[in-house]
């Protein structure tokens, strides 16, 4: 048991310790020292990143009666999740200033979500997976609801209801899979599936499991929450919501699709078609929207459907493209929401309220424009490389998927339209009478935005090292 802890769980335990520390501090620290809560949680994340070096990856390590595992794949995902958590914790400045009394609790919940996400990726057991998913889910409900005002509560409630229903569907699938194979452990299920003939019930249960999981990624049928929740969220929470659950769930879905659910051919088609429908829905829905957050919500649903399409056509090559796309996408998203955070959520989020903002804030708006162009997949950004790389994966999967790819590419024209809808008003010249806000950014927010923008450009210019890393990870799963 002790061996297990020292081999895999040290980063998780570090995060856990800091959660407890933050809760204690929340009780005993005087109110006016709420600012330090951010420092404590950043310290915790950094400690966890450092402790990642103790995790054993070669060979794969299974601990706690095979319920938790670690290899280079989980290590990479842990690292990305922690880095995103780091950036989100930096961005949480505004919200902490608005809820001074509960600042420490807020940070503790934020860390708990990260802990859940890390656990999801390293789960090797449906029980662990379920418990850590709920851990992440609960912390997200609270993070959403923490913002002041009625909208955040409604958003949190909607997210809660959809999550509850989808986790019900997920568990229903798990129960049948458990009935078929007699175990909840991925390795055992994989062994059973490869040795025995699979039945229709197996396919049905794996489809249910997948449906339950991908609702967190805003893929239909449980995707309706995405626009409402994004509209009601505070922007630093959005940076969190649009990266960490996504990373964690994609991490586990890819593993599930390769191992325990890999023998179901129907699953591939169901997921591929669902992601195609989602891409269609999200891209056409966003055209009508005028709220920046809603447009970004649709774009997040659309992007996860592209990734899901590539991930559903299971192969090692596809896996590497999925990881690469995820990394690029996450960085771009954090940059976009960092800008919205600087812009401040109290201001209206209508696209036209950004009119002319470029002429007062060159650097920050330029960085934001880079991020949006990255989402649209315009060259010299990482989005361009990521899209090309992802689409090579779909082409490789066979001639049947060419119509799928063609549809996706056509949808990207729609996507460009709504990204332009975000971008163009910012470069519009307006009269001298209207007052364009000058953005006031503190160093930490600028740091997140600018460093993300630089990384986007860097990956766009020389992506080779990162691609190699992704390929290495994918071949070692």
């Amino acid at each position: 048991m002790l061996n297990d802890i020292f081999n895999i769980l040290l980063p998780h335990i570090a995060i856990g310790e800091f959660i407890i520390l933050l809760m204690i501090l929340g009780i005993f620290m005087p109110l006016r020292q709420f600012k330090y809560s951010r420092l404590v949680s950043i310290l915790g994340i950094v400690t966890a990143i450092v402790l990642l070096s103790t995790v054993q990856t070669e060979p794969q390590y299974f601990g706690f009666r095979n319920s938790v595992m670690s290899d280079s794949y989980t290590l990479l995902f842990d690292f990305i999740i922690l880095s995103c958590g780091f950036l989100c914790a930096i961005l949480s400045r505004n919200i902490i200033y608005s809820i001074k009394r509960h600042a420490y609790t807020y940070q503790a919940i934020l860390l708990a979500g990260i802990l859940g996400a890390m656990n999801i990726v390293s789960a090797n057991d449906f029980l662990t997976l379920f418990v850590s998913m709920e851990l992440m889910g609960f912390s997200i409900y609270f993070l959403i609801a923490a913002a002041k005002g009625y909208y955040s509560k409604e958003a949190a409630f909607k997210y809660l209801i959809t999550s509850a229903v989808s986790s019900g569907v997920f568990l229903f699938g798990v129960s049948y899979l458990y009935g078929i194979t007699g175990s909840l452990n991925f390795s055992v299920i994989y062994e059973y599936v490869t040795e025995n003939e699979t039945s229709l019930l197996y396919s049905v249960s794996s489809i249910l499991i997948a449906l339950g999981l991908i609702s967190k990624l805003a893929i239909l049928p449980f995707a309706n929450w995405v626009v409402d929740v994004y509209k009601g969220c505070e922007s630093s929470t959005l940076a969190y919501l649009s990266t960490i659950p996504k990373l964690a769930v994609f991490g586990i879905v890819c593993r599930l699709l390769v191992f325990p659910l890999g023998s179901s051919f129907e699953l591939t088609f169901v997921i591929a078609i669902l992601s195609l429908i989602t891409a269609f829905w999200a891209n056409t829905y966003a055209i009508r929207e005028n709220n920046v957050k809603a447009i970004l919500a649709c774009s997040s649903a659309a992007n996860s459907s592209y990734i899901m399409l590539a991930a559903s056509l299971v192969s090692v090559y596809n896996l590497s493209t999925v990881i690469f796309y995820l990394i690029c996408y996450v960085i771009i998203n954090i940059a976009a929401f960092a800008y919205l955070n600087i812009y401040n959520d109290k201001n209206p989020m209508d696209v036209n309220s950004f009119a002319g903002i470029f002429y007062k804030n060159h650097g920050l708006t330029g960085a934001y424009a880079i991020a949006i162009l990255g989402l649209a997949g315009i060259p010299i950004t990482s989005g361009f490389i990521a899209k090309i790389y992802l689409f090579t994966a779909i082409v490789k999967s066979g001639l049947i998927f060419v119509p799928f790819l063609l549809t996706l590419l056509m949808l990207m024209v729609f996507a460009l339209f709504y990204y332009l809808k975000i971008l163009l008003p910012m470069f519009e010249k307006c009269d001298k009478n209207t007052d364009v806000p000058t953005l006031k950014a503190v160093f930490s927010q600028k740091f997140v935005l600018v460093s993300c923008a630089i990384i986007i450009i860097l990956i766009g210019i020389c992506p080779e090292k990162l691609i190699e890393l992704c390929r290495f990870i994918a071949y070692n799963i």
């Binding site: 449906f126 029980l127 379920f130 418990v131 709920e134 609960f138 409900y141 609270f142 609801a145 009625y150 909208y151 509560k153 409604e154 958003a155 949190a156 409630f157 909607k158 809660l160 209801i161 509850a164 229903v165 019900g168 569907v169 568990l171 229903f172 798990v174 129960s175 049948y176 458990y178 009935g179 078929i180 007699g182 175990s183 909840l184 626009v227 409402d228 929740v229 509209k231 009601g232």
Partner: protein
Amino acid sequence: MMNNITMYHYLFIGLFMFLTGFFGSVFAKNIIKVLISIEFMLLGININFVTFGTYCDGLDFEGYIMSLFYIGIGAVEFAVALYLFYLMFQKKDSDNIQKYTDL
């Protein structure tokens, strides 16, 4: 007479409860009803787990553990949902789900 009750009877009850809960949660207009429906889903799934744990899994009883966990987590989920509903209710003073469409 007891001998006639097989695994499939239990599974049927589980399926029935799950479907009731699922469609209830999708179609109900009252928020409390939605929450109750989610509890129905939970119970149906738990019946499944316990059944499979009894009939198919001789060694580990993982199904029982899973159902225990799910009962706990479901209770917490229900509590959180009720609290959020309480916060929303203060503003709207209604339990009709169609009133809560500000976003």
